[in-house]
């Protein structure tokens, strides 16, 4: 168990008041707050050893280079990568996925298939749409059911002789001979659903497809090990795990990264340049063109240190506790519809919901007035919102510094708002009509 009250003391911003009320920050799926250890590490970098990395021989550059390289080592250890060569720093998850999509698409041909799921964030849809457009490849989607889970549930009614479950069957209807890439979110940023990553990766591997995991909502919240998952690529962002903005991570298997063309070209990603051409630098620098975000990388090291000290198991346990309480309280409020799995064991630390047909922007505006920061809208997953038959939802997302008292405060405020935003049957009906499409 972690001590959230003790942890809160490390986060200066959590002492802030908004509209004279204590800040209740429940927008952690968008970005998390930073502990003073991270802020301090970034400051230290600028105040004592700021300089460019990998080039100069002077003392400051040596220190900056050591710290920048160490950040790669630190992240490699955190996610169970083999070595730092497998850890590429980008600017965010979106850029990480763009890097993979751009480089891999050079190996795609007309008729090849890219498999995604219906619950992807725009950052794991649009780069693949573009890759498909460039190459003539086709996009296919693993479908979701009414609970917001992939339609992969194991069916116990499978034959005793054959161990192949119906979930295997569902996967294999979409992931087939033509599939070259399977890219999916580990945890949905709207539904909170934890996808059966190992199962999807195993199905992809069987037919030799490359797997890309969008881990933006999983790595910050639960223990994730790339070797255990068996994925080829995995992407996430520092700013969603206590780190600074502007640093993303792309994990890639060494042999795959070695076979790929660079994403951006220029300084630091070369080993030798003539007027006619260039040779690429070794991993991971081959994919890190230009001066990188050094202060951000140093901050990420401090963020990983912080999380490791608390323990990811403890972070995860705490979030489950908060999520269960939030689900319970939300169900007690009349007119609340919660999205995603009913079973809390299949969910991560976020809860998206709608209130009686009230628009999410109204709900979040009233919560904001009570000092509670949540997110309202389509959460950068418009295809999913459309599937759910809504214009969006309100989302409360939790992290290690949130407390059960904050969840109670949030639920209490929401109960009051529900009464305020209640619509008469006549107009609410026009919502209901379009809200029941799933």
């Amino acid at each position: 168990m972690l001590n959230a009250e003790r942890i809160r003391e490390d986060f200066p911003i959590l002492k802030r008041k908004v509209y004279g009320k204590p800040l209740v920050y429940l927008d952690n799926a968008a970005t998390t707050q930073k502990p003073r250890q991270v802020i301090q590490a970034t400051n230290d970098y600028y105040e004592t050893y700021n300089s460019n990395v990998h080039r100069a021989v002077h003392r400051l550059s040596q220190e900056a280079t050591a710290a920048y390289d160490e950040a790669h080592e630190k992240v490699a250890g955190f996610i169970g990568a083999e070595c730092m060569e497998e850890v590429v720093f980008t600017k965010n998850t979106t850029e990480s996925i763009n890097l993979v999509a751009s480089s891999l698409s050079q190996q795609l041909q007309k008729g090849d298939e890219i498999v995604l799921t219906q619950m992807e964030h725009h950052s794991n849809i649009v780069p693949w749409q573009q890759a498909a457009k460039r190459t003539g490849a086709k996009l296919r989607f693993l479908e979701i059911d009414g609970n917001g889970e992939l339609k992969l549930q194991h069916n116990s009614a499978t034959s005793g002789m054959c161990n192949r479950t119906s979930s295997d069957l569902q996967l294999r209807q979409t992931i087939g001979k033509k599939t070259k890439i399977v890219a999916f979110t580990h945890v949905s940023n709207v539904l909170g659903t934890i996808n059966p990553a190992k199962e999807i990766i195993a199905a992809a591997k069987e037919i030799g497809a490359v797997t890309v995991v969008d881990a933006a909502q999983s790595v910050p919240h639960m223990p994730v090990n790339v070797k255990e998952l068996g994925c080829d690529f995995l992407a996430f962002s520092a700013h969603k795990m206590l780190g600074p903005t502007g640093v993303g991570v792309l994990y890639g298997k060494r042999e795959l990264l070695e076979g790929m063309e660079p994403f951006l070209y220029g300084g630091d990603m070369i080993s030798e340049v003539s007027l006619e051409g260039a040779k690429w630098n070794e991993l991971p620098w081959k994919f890190e063109a230009g001066t990188p975000n050094m202060a951000g990388a140093v901050g990420l090291t401090a963020a990983v240190d912080y999380l490791q000290k608390v323990g990811m198991e403890n972070v995860w346990e705490h979030e489950i506790l908060l999520t269960k309480l939030a689900l319970k309280r939300l169900q007690e409020i009349e007119g609340v519809a919660v999205y995603g799995p009913k079973d809390a064991a299949k969910r991560s630390g976020l809860v998206a919901f709608n209130l009686n047909g009230a628009h999410p922007h109204d709900v979040s505006a009233f919560l904001d007035a009570a000092g509670i920061a949540v997110r309202g809208g389509h959460h950068c997953a418009m295809p999913l919102a459309r599937l759910l038959g809504t214009a969006g939802s309100t989302r409360a997302s939790f992290y290690l510094y949130n407390t059960t008292q904050e969840i109670e405060k949030f639920a209490e405020a929401l109960g009051k708002i529900a009464a305020k935003l209640k619509k008469p049957a006549q107009t609410a009906e026009s919502w209901a009509k379009s809200d029941n499409r799933l």
């Binding site: 007035a369 919102a385 214009a391």
Partner: protein
Amino acid sequence: MANAAASDGIENLYREELMDHYQNPRNFGNMADADVSYHDYNPVCGDEVTVQLKMENGTVKEAMFNGKGCAISQAAASMLTEQIHGKSVKAVVAMTQNDMLEITKINPGPVRIKCALLALRAVQKGIIQYEANRANLAK
């Protein structure tokens, strides 16, 4: 310290009259024999309105709307249908953002101004289309 966005506080923004129009919208529904029918929406937030007008001698004889979305967008639509009743085409097309803020008596700030303007823009686009069609028919 960063200042709060330049919009009304919650009590002013969601003031009583606005909430009343949101919860009990005026002129809400479907007009069977509308001359003007225009649907508009904001893909970013999902606000939707369909405005329907009955025209007579270059003036708005009747105005209705239906839709779904945030309180500001729906209340603004409701208030607008009351305001344009009996107004000339010219006057309606000339209406501005400021007119809309006066009608709704709110200052929604830069992010949500689109909500307040959705219905007005739909009415104006619908009328312009209607006038253009009439001009074509007259040729």
